[in-house]
Symmetry: D2
Subunit: 311 residues, 4 copies
């Protein structure tokens, strides 16, 4: 039934209906490297299990994936450590961002989930302990992304990396607080540096939608046939994306889009339609919760037009 | 494909595999009326779109639906007020229960979602303003439950109602705090009384699984054909159940069960398999988050055996 | 040495130097009965141990003592219950008002000190348990005030009382929360009603400065010779006023005035110069922390001119 | 009148009455360098305006002054920057330590007062900006302490300094959080290193009581005649010590001792009797709030015996 959709036409319609929102929202400007991006870009890509892709907009434009990297690092950590990971990071939505530090204090340095900064920092610390140094750790994540994207040219932006580390005092505060609770094993500086390097990876929507396909197919990339995580793990990553993927607008996203997804302040969002496809959108202006405004809107329109919701 | 399952056999297996957990957990004892229930009961019912039901355990045993009533009152409020409701209650997970009062303070008396107590109290206040008095308001909710359950004998337990109101100081605190922010229109006492009366409604798993079927079918009861909420509204109620249906274990439930659901401290849980069925379980002992321990376990086993997850 | 001061002249100077601030600040307007007061009034009275009084401004004008009543009820409770009281209410500053509810939650319903609303409500509950009914309880406090003021005509304002109770949802929230932790023994409504009745007592600065003299003289009224509290208790009430007497500006008051004091939103402030005198000021406009703006200013100027600081 | 006391006899009595508590409490053990101290030591020294000193116990034993250094650095900062300092650090008690980080978040990186760690870190940052490097900054503070102690041999413990920095993740968290709000100008590492170096200064009660005498005499050292801060500033430092000098037991200390004071986890406490004397006590075992248990007890007994309370 779903194959009957004319996806290209739907994407074109989504684009047209998203245009009125292009001026809304605000590009992330806490570091110069992110602020200088052309704000009115838009791209959307979908990748089906047969490898067929549909695009609209600047689908080859690279953008900083930022927090979308949290999905990759969590996936890697699940591969390597399995359920042992849950001793160090939870699975619950975190509520108000205002509470991030107090919740870490109240819960003795255990972050609520791997998709808030504190959680991704713990995940990075676990990976760093395994790979022993920043470069090996980063290269492993990057290789994973290159392989799932079927594109070996994917890299990172050194300016973004440096700039984020230089402005990363809040993340250093989180990491130091967790270290005071013995939930960080490596040097705080090394962990946060690695974390930011992951954030500075650059991808296009074309690559991103291709790469995340294994999550739509219960852990197995339907094109190359490789199993990256188990059936159960894939479901759980999707569940986490649904409940925790959009900061303090995760409920909003579940409510209006109804798909597991993860956003980044670089303007990207990835969304999963279990058993059907992987979607990526990009548009730099953010709404008040720090998620791509037009990206969210486009996904909402797409979900409505196709009825592709998990609910 | 799904029809091929031998549901009765699966339910029997689920029952057998849940038995080892029957002694675990603790019955809600904050009011005597709830504490006196036989703790080792277990029941599970599923209802398919064709009206066919499968059961295991004490599926005719009535139990106090407690917070499951929040799904009914929110549904009624959506029918009556639509999106206007969202000015008074949010859609985001609430995180730690410890924060319930501080979050109400920080967010000026607007509860995070309709499935935490504060949110359900606001929803009840909206209904009470519409129906003008406690009895009419309560009777409308009860009629709705009777109709969707196809059972006019469903009632409530007066002892539970009185007892909860007498011990309801924390809910009175929440309601008074919201009133101080002008987010409660009626008398605090009336609102909280009505709220507790809804909580004291009694149903069996047989009735509960039958009643919630409209949420599995995009708002339309597949048996009587009535549309209770729109397609969009049904999806959003499900989204809310997934992100907010199990207090501070909503992420845990999404993670391990992977279905929209709502629990009550009476030991009941309802879960929705979109486009397929509605499930109800009952077992009075609760885990540390206040959700039925064996009920959660049974749903997890059921989801694993059938692969019926939204992810 | 201190007797050498020409207090009348100093008060006149204080008045002149306070005039520039008469337009600043904002009268408490959360209830109509308080909002209708003439905002630009000012009065200041001091009472020495020999009974001599000095005044400036409208020193016979009655005003609602509001939270200043907390000093009287805490004094009564210390008389009746002594140190047993500290099981139910603490002695520490409470920090940010934003935290009032979360702190009650975190500390299991034990308010931080008797001069925040929650603490005074617990104190009132203790008194109510002793006197059995609202009238007896209130009359005992009123008699105490009349006796220490040497003025039997002191009464309360029924409009203010009713109006505060009708808008008292936040205080009802606090009381219900404490009741849920078993730190309120009587009916929440009765306790809060009694609390507000104490707040609605009306006094002039002349009466107030006379009345509090026993706190400047280690518990013994230097004029009538009666011992109201022990030497130790008087010191401790003063210590509490210094650390907790001005909501979230207690540090500010200690810093700039340097005397134990207690303010009320009716615009009154009482301050104690141990071994020397008792001071009362009145001016209805409040600063951003809810303390009389000109009252605070006048005390600061007075303290500077006389050097009468405890530091 | 006060000169009539036989202080030596009173100190001897205080010592005898404190002995029963020598086994109570627990030495700070978060760093090995502090944990290895002999736990049952006790010393108490008082210094009068005429330079006369009275002692009991190991009054020449050096101990780590830890947070008592906050009084010195705040004094230095007041000298250099005056009231400009209050833009960066408040004057209010901070309430529960649990809230330290959330309060920094809620109040945009402005610590509540200079005697909590966050506040002292900001004060240190201000000094570091002035002196340009860690050594000059530290040496200036040390010189000030040597001068007021009339003892040039006072130094610091390098082991304690290193050890604290190595375990200082919570303080690094606080400093990074404040840096994210632009309330730290220098490198976080440098500021925290300097802060810990101040904490590692070692003094005896004999030296400490001599050194703080200027605070008892309105800013002027009564022995060498030098004015270290103005009359007003001295009063305000005392006011801050009273309201904020003992972490979350500041109210307790004001209540039972009734004197401005500042404690350190090394077991030292300094207390000021305005216009009369300066007191120092030392005993390493701490009560549950992190203040010297026997030190607090001894001061309480001393205050009771002499009546030397500011209230």
């Amino acid at each position: 039934m779903l194959n009957e959709f004319n996806y290209q036409q739907i994407l074109n319609e989504v684009y047209d209906e998203t245009i009125p929102y292009f001026q809304d929202g605000k590009v992330a400007d806490y570091i110069p490297a992110l602020a200088k991006v052309n704000p009115e870009q838009f791209a959307m890509s979908i990748t089906l299990f047969n490898g067929k892709q549909y695009h609209v907009g600047v689908c080859d434009e690279k953008f900083s994936i930022q927090s979308i990297s949290k999905v990759y690092t969590f996936t890697k950590a699940l591969q390597l450590f399995g359920t042992k990971l849950y001793k160090r990071v939870g699975k619950e939505p975190s509520g108000n961002p205002f509470n991030s530090l107090v919740q870490l204090e109240y819960e003795k340095g255990i972050p609520r989930n791997p998709f808030i900064n504190a959680g991704a920092i713990v995940v990075t610390d676990a990976l760093l302990s395994y790979f022993k140094n920043i470069d090996k750790c980063f290269n492993d994540t990057l290789s994973f992304i290159q392989e799932t994207s079927d594109n070996e040219t994917i890299g990172f932006d050194r300016n973004v990396w440096f700039s984020e580390y230089q402005h990363g005092h809040r993340n250093l505060a989180l990491a130091n607080l967790m270290k005071s609770y013995n939930n960080i094993d490596n040097l705080v500086e090394d962990v946060v540096k690695t974390y930011f390097k992951h954030c500075s990876i650059e991808m296009s929507t074309k690559e991103l939608s291709r790469s995340m396909l294994f999550l739509a197919n219960h852990g197995i990339d339907p094109i190359n046939g490789k199993e990256y995580v188990t059936h159960e793990q894939a479901k759980r990553i999707n569940a986490l994306m649904l409940t925790c993927g959009h900061y303090d607008a995760s409920g909003e996203f579940a409510f209006y889009v109804g798909l597991p997804g993860k956003s980044g302040v670089g303007g990207g969002i990835v969304a999963i339609v279990p058993k059907v496809m992987s979607i990526a959108v990009f548009s730099p202006r953010l709404n008040s919760w720090g998620n791509s405004l037009c990206g969210t809107k486009a996904l909402e329109i797409f979900a409505k037009k196709t009825g592709l919701s998990i609910f």
